[in-house]
């Protein structure tokens, strides 16, 4: 078998491109060493084709950022005409809530669609953000946060969806749903899911303004509110509420159905419960976030369930 000259030339070009990508990824890995630098120089010096292959690879790498920026801008502009109010309007009910529900049910659609959020995480992703001097955020899975500062010296954010641990050593306003929190020297968790917001005060003290009322949350207190109502101040199990910060999920006697809902927040694809009775069984468990890809197998073994694995990480449990 003979290969034509142009075929072998393009085979070499592909080989060089692959090698160039290898070097690009190695050098941008965050753990490139002097030994790597030496090896890269040797590789690149082999021929002008080598140097050119790397030049092109780097050109592509650099172009990725402006391309992604443009994509995000275009998506944000497309979604609603008033992105500032989108999260709140959806929370308060109305026609948009239905479409939000559809989007939330298919989490993969939201990846890469920040929809006006300044900070966001994808499925199973967690992220640390130093917002300003004195304000640190830890975002949990599928979380979208927007900057809402109105003036110099006013630090404010809106939790559009998801879960975030906030450390506010200085004054901070947090909008979530139709409530507004004031913190100054507090550490707290805000969890905004469809229809309700749960605020957990871990350290310090918070003020909540909601439906014309002011409520104080002391350290060790938790409050859940919906568009219309506020719950009572309750205590909480810190280990259970904040386990996500240690990349763990902790369930104390929770129904399997809600356990599966929670796992789905972190796990790409979706676990679908087909059996309501199974869903009512109580679960005592600790899962590490890293184990969630195969969690359906654990459920099968623990409860004698039947699982059917479909493409895209979808698992039916019955």
């Amino acid at each position: 078998m003979s290969i034509s000259a142009s075929e072998s030339a393009s085979a070499t070009a592909n080989q060089l491109r692959e090698e160039a990508f290898h070097w690009l990824v190695r050098l941008t890995s965050g753990h490139a060493t002097h030994a790597d630098a030496e090896a890269f120089r040797r590789w690149s010096a082999q021929s002008s084709e080598h140097a050119r292959a790397f030049f092109l690879a780097r050109q592509l790498w650099q172009a990725m950022a402006p391309a992604e920026q443009k994509l995000r801008q275009e998506q944000a502009a497309k979604v609603v005409s008033h992105p500032r109010r989108f999260g709140r309007r959806a929370f308060l009910g109305g026609a948009i809530a239905a479409s939000v529900a559809v989007l939330v049910a298919r989490p993969s659609l939201l990846d890469g669609w920040p929809m006006g959020a300044d900070f966001h995480t994808g499925v199973g992703e967690q992220r640390h953000v130093d917002l300003t001097q004195g304000v640190v955020l830890e975002l949990n899975t599928q979380t979208r946060i927007s900057q809402r500062s109105e003036a110099l010296g006013d630090a404010a954010i809106e939790v559009l969806s998801g879960e975030v641990e906030i450390q506010a050593s200085t004054a901070l306003r947090v909008l979530a749903g139709n409530g507004e929190l004031f913190a100054d020297g507090a550490r707290f968790n805000v969890r905004a899911t469809e229809g309700s917001v749960c605020v957990t005060c871990l350290e310090g003290r918070l003020q909540l303004k909601h439906q014309g009322r002011r409520v104080s949350l002391e350290q060790g207190r938790q409050l859940t509110y919906t568009a219309q109502r506020q719950g009572q101040l309750t205590s909480f199990d810190t280990q259970q509420v904040m386990a996500w910060r240690q990349q763990l999920l902790v369930f104390n006697d929770a129904p399997l159905a809600s356990v599966i809902d929670e796992i789905n927040r972190y796990r790409p694809g979706m676990i679908v419960l087909m059996n309501a009775e199974l869903g009512r069984r109580k679960v005592q468990a600790r899962f590490s976030l890293a184990q969630l890809a195969n969690v359906a197998v654990l459920i099968r073994d623990a409860y004698g369930a039947t699982i059917t694995e479909l493409p895209g990480g979808v698992v039916l449990v019955s």
């Binding site: 990508f21 941008t28 790397f54 592509l60 994509l71 994808g122 499925v123 184990q291």
Partner: protein, 181 residues
């Protein structure tokens, strides 16, 4: 220390040179490294003042060579700084024909399209590295995968986008258009 002692140590070194080199090659697994280390050892022997009571000069010298090799390994293992990496990557630019740089512009629209076609997780990993400059180790933790997997995902993303961009050029101008001379 007298001239006499110094040259005695050097004499031993030179006499043992080939033996040292063979042993170092075995230990270090590299001809180049063995030669470099031996050269460095020679320089030090030439400069140094051996202790007055060295019983086994051969063993002493070989131990010195091994220490130099260990220092070299530690040096090589040091991480590059951001600046060093930038400079390193830019050295390839110097040799590029300016005319070719202009001709080879990346089509941003085509790249945007390619990015939307990436699997969500792959795209997230790509953007974590490219936009946030998150190190691979951290990306690996974030997604619950190995660093090797992170590398594979990044390479796959780059390959995919490069393929798509090339195909776009061919579509527009016909086969052979995308090939560089």
């Amino acid at each position: 220390m007298t001239e006499k002692e110094q040259s005695a140590m050097l004499k031993v070194f030179l006499a043992s040179y080939d033996v040292f080199r063979a042993r170092l090659r075995r230990r270090l697994g590299s001809d180049d490294l063995a030669n470099d280390v031996l050269h460095e050892t020679y320089l030090r022997v030439d400069r140094m003042e051996p202790p007055a009571d060295v019983q086994k000069p051969g063993a002493y010298l070989f131990r010195m060579a091994l220490n130099i090799a260990a220092d070299r390994r530690a040096q090589d293992a040091r991480l590059l700084t951001g600046t060093e990496i930038e400079e390193l990557m830019q050295t390839a630019d110097e040799h590029q024909d300016p005319a070719v740089i202009v001709g080879g512009q990346i089509e941003i629209r085509a790249l945007m399209q390619a990015l939307t076609e990436l699997a969500p997780r792959r795209r997230q990993i790509l953007m974590a590295s490219r936009m946030e400059q998150t190190p691979h180790q951290e990306i690996a933790q974030r997604f619950g995968i190995s660093t090797r997997m992170v590398e594979k995902e990044l390479k796959a993303a780059l390959q995919y986008c490069a393929d798509r961009l090339e195909r776009k050029v061919i579509q527009r101008f016909g086969p052979g258009a995308g090939k560089q001379s």
